[in-house]
C-alpha cells in the first residue's frame, strides 16, 4: 500500500513535467526515488526476532542438558503449532502470510520454554494455538496485541490444566537435597530454601527455560548489548525486586531475601525475554521504569501473599494491561513545550 502511494506521487511528478516542460532525461534515470532519509539502520523485524531466538540458545541447551534431549519435542510442537496457527489465520483473513518474520516461531519457542519438562505435547499444541490465536491474531496480528502472546498461551494452559502444569520433573545430575519441586514451591509448601548456587547453574526443578540463571543472563546481556532489549525494563525489575523484596524481608526475615527472589522461578527469564517484548511493553522510557517496578511489586505480593508459589507470568500479564495507560500518561513533552509553559 505504501509502495503504491509513493509510486503514485512519482507518477504525479512525472505528469507535471510532461505538461509543463518538454525536458526528457538525457541520461540513465535513477528510479529509486523514495524520499529522505536515504539511510537506515540495519535492523529488520525478522532479524530482531532471529536474534532473540539466538539469545535463547543457551537456555535451550541448559534445558536439554538438565531435563533430557526429549524436551526438544515440546519445543518443536510449540513452534510448529504457533507457525501453523499464524499461517492458517492469515490465510483465512486473506492477509499476507508473514510467518518468516520469525515472531510466531519466537512466540512458540518462548511458550515452550515456560512449560514444565515432560509437559503433555497435546496440551502444548493447545497452548500454542491459543497463544497465536487469542494472544496475537485476534488483535490484528504482529504489533497490535496487548498481552504477551506466549504468556497468554501459558496462562490459558495453567487455568485449563493446573495439575499438569505444576508437575515438575527432577533434573538430571540432581544431588539428593534437590527435589522435583521448584525452589518457590518448595519454599511455599514445605519451607525449604534452595541455595543460590544451584539456581545459578540450573540443577533445580522448574520450567524448561528458567532453570539456569547463567544461561538466561548470557542471552539477556547479549540482547542488551546489541540494543534489542531496552536495559531499563530488566534493570527496573531488578531494582524493584531489591526494594520491594527487601522491604518484605526486613519486615519479616522469615521471608526469602530479595536475591533469592531474583534467582528463583522465572524472574530473570521474564525480565530478560518476556517483559521486554517490544509490542507489549511501554514505548516510552519513563513508562518502562513504571512497568518494571510494577511487575516487581505485583510479583512480590503474589509470591508472599498469594496462593500460588510463582507469579511472574501473572504480573507481566497484569502490567501488560496497564501499558496503554502508562504510554498515555508518560507521553514525552514535546521539545520546548515545558519551557514555554513555565514562562506562562
Amino acid at each position: 500500500m505504501i509502495v503504491n502511494l509513493w509510486q503514485a506521487q512519482v507518477e504525479v511528478k512525472r505528469k507535471n513535467m510532461e505538461t509543463t516542460t518538454t525536458i526528457e532525461p538525457k541520461q540513465k534515470v535513477y528510479f529509486d526515488l523514495t524520499t529522505s532519509p536515504h539511510l537506515h539502520s540495519r535492523w529488520t523485524t525478522s532479524k530482531v526476532m532471529w536474534f532473540v531466538v539466538a539469545a535463547l540458545v543457551p537456555s535451550i541447551a541448559a534445558a536439554l542438558t538438565f531435563f533430557g534431549w526429549t524436551q526438544i519435542f515440546i519445543i518443536i510442537v510449540a513452534v510448529a503449532f504457533s507457525v501453523g496457527t499464524e499461517i492458517s489465520i492469515q490465510t483465512i483473513r486473506k492477509k499476507q502470510i508473514t510467518w518468516f518474520d520469525g515472531s510466531a516461531a519466537l512466540t512458540g519457542l518462548l511458550l515452550a520454554l515456560t512449560l514444565p519438562p515432560n509437559f503433555s505435547l497435546s496440551a502444548t499444541a493447545i497452548g500454542a494455538i491459543v497463544a497465536i490465536g487469542l494472544g496475537k491474531q485476534i488483535f490484528g496480528g504482529l504489533g497490535y496485541n496487548i498481552f504477551n502472546p506466549a504468556l497468554v498461551g501459558r496462562a490459558f494452559l495453567q487455568a485449563a490444566f493446573p495439575v499438569q502444569i505444576t508437575t515438575w520433573t527432577k533434573p538430571n545430575f540432581a544431588v539428593d537435597s534437590v527435589t522435583s519441586a521448584t525452589p518457590l514451591a518448595a519454599l511455599k509448601f514445605d519451607k525449604i530454601f534452595t541455595d543460590t548456587a544451584s539456581m545459578t547453574i540450573g540443577n533445580i526443578g522448574g520450567s524448561l527455560g528458567e532453570t539456569s540463571a547463567i544461561a538466561v543472563l548470557i542471552g539477556g546481556i547479549f540482547l542488551i548489548a546489541v540494543g534489542i532489549v531496552n536495559w531499563r525494563i530488566p534493570l527496573s525489575m531488578i531494582i524493584g525486586m531489591l526494594v520491594f523484596g527487601g522491604i518484605f524481608w526486613l519486615i519479616d526475615p522469615q521471608n526469602p531475601t530479595p536475591v533469592f527472589h531474583i534467582f528463583a522461578g522465572s524472574f530473570l527469564f521474564g525480565a530478560m525475554f518476556m517483559a521486554t517484548d517490544w509490542v507489549t511493553s511501554p514505548i516510552t522510557n519513563k513508562g518502562m521504569w513504571i512497568f518494571g517496578f510494577g511487575i516487581s511489586l505485583v510479583l512480590i505480593v503474589i509470591r508472599i501473599y498469594g496462593g500460588l508459589p510463582e507469579g511472574v507470568m501473572y504480573s507481566i500479564l497484569f502490567m501488560n494491561g496497564f501499558v496503554p495507560l502508562v504510554n498515555r500518561y508518560t507521553k514525552p513533552t514535546i521539545f520546548g513545550v515545558a519551557k514555554e509553559a513555565v514562562k506562562k
Binding site: 516542460t21 536515504h38 539502520s41 507489549t280
Partner: protein, 443 residues
C-alpha cells in the same frame, strides 16, 4: 574536553573518510547553466533579462521580490537562451533562466567594492548581504539578510556558527574550517556586528578534532568568540538541537531561534558573508561534497551555481555499476534525483551517489512498538503515533500529537526496525493538517 549535546538522536555510520582529506577543487565552467529563480525560501525572484541578452559573471539577472527573497546572479559570461520551467533538484520544475556560456570572456572577479571589515556599519553589512544574494548554506536556503534584520522587539545575545555537519558523507563545512579559518572568523565577526551581539560561538562535533584545534587556536585571540565541542550525533546540526546544546535554551514549537535570543548561521554562510564584504564577491558558486560509494572519485568541489548535476558527476569520474540512487543534499534530508540535468543551486551542499548496499532497502512490517523512534526523536515526538494517525486519516489526533512540530530530520525512520517510512507518512499528515488549519482560519 567534554562535549555538549542534546537528549536522544542517533549515530549513523559517517562515511566522512571518503572526502574529509580532500581540498576543494574548482570544476571547469559548463557549456550551459540553469538558474532557477527560486533558490531560496520565500518569494521567487523577478527576472531582469530576456531571451538573447548577453550577461556577465556576477551580473544580477533577477531581483529580490519583497522582504523574504534573494536576487539571482549569473555565474558565467554568456547569452540567455530561454526563460521557462526547468527541472530542479527539489523534484519540482521551477521558472529558470538558461544561459549558454561564452567561452571567450574571462570570469568575473570583483563586482562590489571591497569594504573594510573593521569600519563597516551594520546597515552596510545587511545591504551588501542582500545584494550579494546570500542564502543560508545549511540546507534551508533562508535569505541571510532577513536573518540579520531581526524585529526590533527581540533581543539577540548570541550568534552560533553551525559547524556540526552532522549529516553523514558531507565534509564541505569541515574543509572550510580547516582551509579558511580566518575568513570564517571574520565572517562571524561581521554577523555579530550586524546584529550588535557580543557573544559568538562556533559549535563543532567532536569527530572533527582538527577543526576544533585550529579554530580554538584562532578564537583565543578574539574577544567574545569561543569554540564549543559537541557530541557527534545526528541531528546535532539542527537549529533547535544546537541551541539546546550550546545555551541550554529550548526553542518552543512554532517559534524561531531568535525568540530565545540566538541566531544560527552555517559555516558556509559565514564564509560567503566574508567574501561579499571583504572581497566584494556575490554568491555565484556553491561549495559541495560529491561522495558515496557509487561515485568513482569522491571530491570536495567549488561549482558554479547552475551547473547540471550530470557535469559534476562526470567530473568526478562518473558512477559505478551498482549505483542506485542519486541524492542532492545529505543522506538524511536530501532529495533523490531522477533528472540529472537539474542544476546545482546556491545552497547545494552535497551530491551523493549511493549503492544498493548503502541504501539498504528492507521489508516493511507493522509497528512493533519498540519505542526506538520515540527514544530517538530529538523533538520528543511519538513518530509511530503520528504515522499511524495519518494512515488511519485521523488528522485531528495527529495535530494534537504535534505533527506540525516535526522537522523531518529522518531520525525516526532511520532507527525503525520495522522499516516503516515514518517520515513520508508524517510529511503527508503534516500537509493535511496544515491544510486543515488553513481552512479553519478561513472559516
Amino acid at each position: 574536553m567534554s562535549s555538549k549535546t542534546f537528549k536522544s538522536g542517533i549515530h549513523p555510520k559517517e562515511y566522512k573518510e571518503l572526502t574529509e582529506h580532500l581540498s576543494f577543487e574548482t570544476i571547469p565552467l559548463p557549456d550551459e547553466i540553469t538558474l532557477p529563480l527560486s533558490q531560496h525560501l520565500g518569494k521567487e525572484a523577478k527576472a531582469l533579462v530576456k531571451k538573447g541578452d548577453e550577461v556577465q559573471p556576477g551580473q544580477m539577472i533577477a531581483q529580490a521580490e519583497g522582504f523574504v527573497s534573494a536576487p539571482i546572479h549569473s555565474s558565467v559570461a554568456g547569452k540567455v537562451m530561454s526563460l521557462g520551467k526547468e527541472q530542479t533538484s527539489s523534484g519540482f520544475p521551477k521558472d529558470s533562466i538558461v544561459i549558454k556560456t561564452n567561452e571567450t570572456v574571462e570570469s568575473q572577479k570583483f563586482l562590489f567594492t571591497p569594504l573594510n571589515p573593521n569600519a563597516v556599519t551594520a546597515e552596510e553589512i545587511r545591504e551588501r548581504v542582500a545584494l550579494a544574494g546570500i542564502v543560508g548554506q545549511g540546507g534551508a536556503a533562508f535569505p541571510t539578510a532577513v536573518k540579520l534584520t531581526p524585529p526590533k522587539d527581540k533581543t539577540i545575545d548570541v550568534v552560533i556558527l553551525n559547524g556540526c555537519e552532522c549529516e553523514p558523507y558531507l565534509t564541505r563545512d569541515y574543509r572550510f574550517m580547516i582551509e579558511r579559518p580566518d575568513d570564517l572568523i571574520s565572517g562571524l565577526k561581521l554577523i555579530m556586528k550586524a546584529l550588535d551581539v557580543k557573544r559568538g560561538v562556533i559549535g563543532i562535533e567532536d569527530n572533527k578534532p582538527e577543526a576544533i584545534k585550529i579554530l580554538s587556536g584562532k578564537a583565543k585571540y578574539e574577544e567574545g568568540i569561543e569554540v564549543v565541542s559537541l557530541k557527534t550525533k545526528y541531528p546535532q546540526g539542527a537549529e533547535k538541537m544546537l541551541i539546546k546544546a550550546v545555551t541550554g535554551r529550548e526553542v518552543p514549537p512554532g517559534k524561531l531561534p531568535l525568540d530565545v535570543g540566538a541566531v544560527i548561521q552555517n559555516i558556509g554562510t559565514a564564509i560567503a558573508i566574508h567574501d561579499a564584504i571583504v572581497n566584494g564577491e556575490v554568491l555565484i558558486t556553491a561549495a559541495l561534497t560529491v561522495s558515496g560509494k557509487g561515485i568513482k572519485n569522491p571530491k570536495n568541489l567549488i561549482v558554479p551555481v547552475g551547473t547540471p548535476i550530470q557535469n559534476v558527476i562526470d567530473y568526478c569520474g562518473g558512477v559505478t555499476e551498482d549505483a542506485m540512487k542519486i541524492v542532492v543534499g545529505g543522506p538524511m534530508m536530501g532529495f533523490a534525483q531522477f533528472d540529472l540535468q537539474a542544476p546545482v543551486m546556491k545552497a547545494t551542499s552535497g551530491i551523493l551517489v549511493l549503492t544498493k548496499d548503502e541504501v539498504a532497502k528492507n521489508p516493511e512490517t507493522p509497528c512493533l512498538r519498540c519505542g526506538q523512534c520515540i527514544e530517538a526523536c530529538p523533538l520528543n515526538l511519538m513518530p509511530t503515533k503520528l504515522a499511524r494517525y495519518t494512515q488511519l486519516n485521523r488528522f485531528e489526533h495527529a495535530e494534537e500529537a504535534g505533527i506540525t512540530v516535526c522537522m523531518e530530520c529522518g531520525t525516526c525512520a532511520y532507527t525503525c526496525p520495522a522499516n516503516i517510512p515514518l517520515v513520508q507518512w508524517i510529511r503527508l499528515g503534516k500537509q493535511k493538517v496544515l491544510q486543515m488549519q488553513k481552512e479553519r482560519v478561513v472559516k
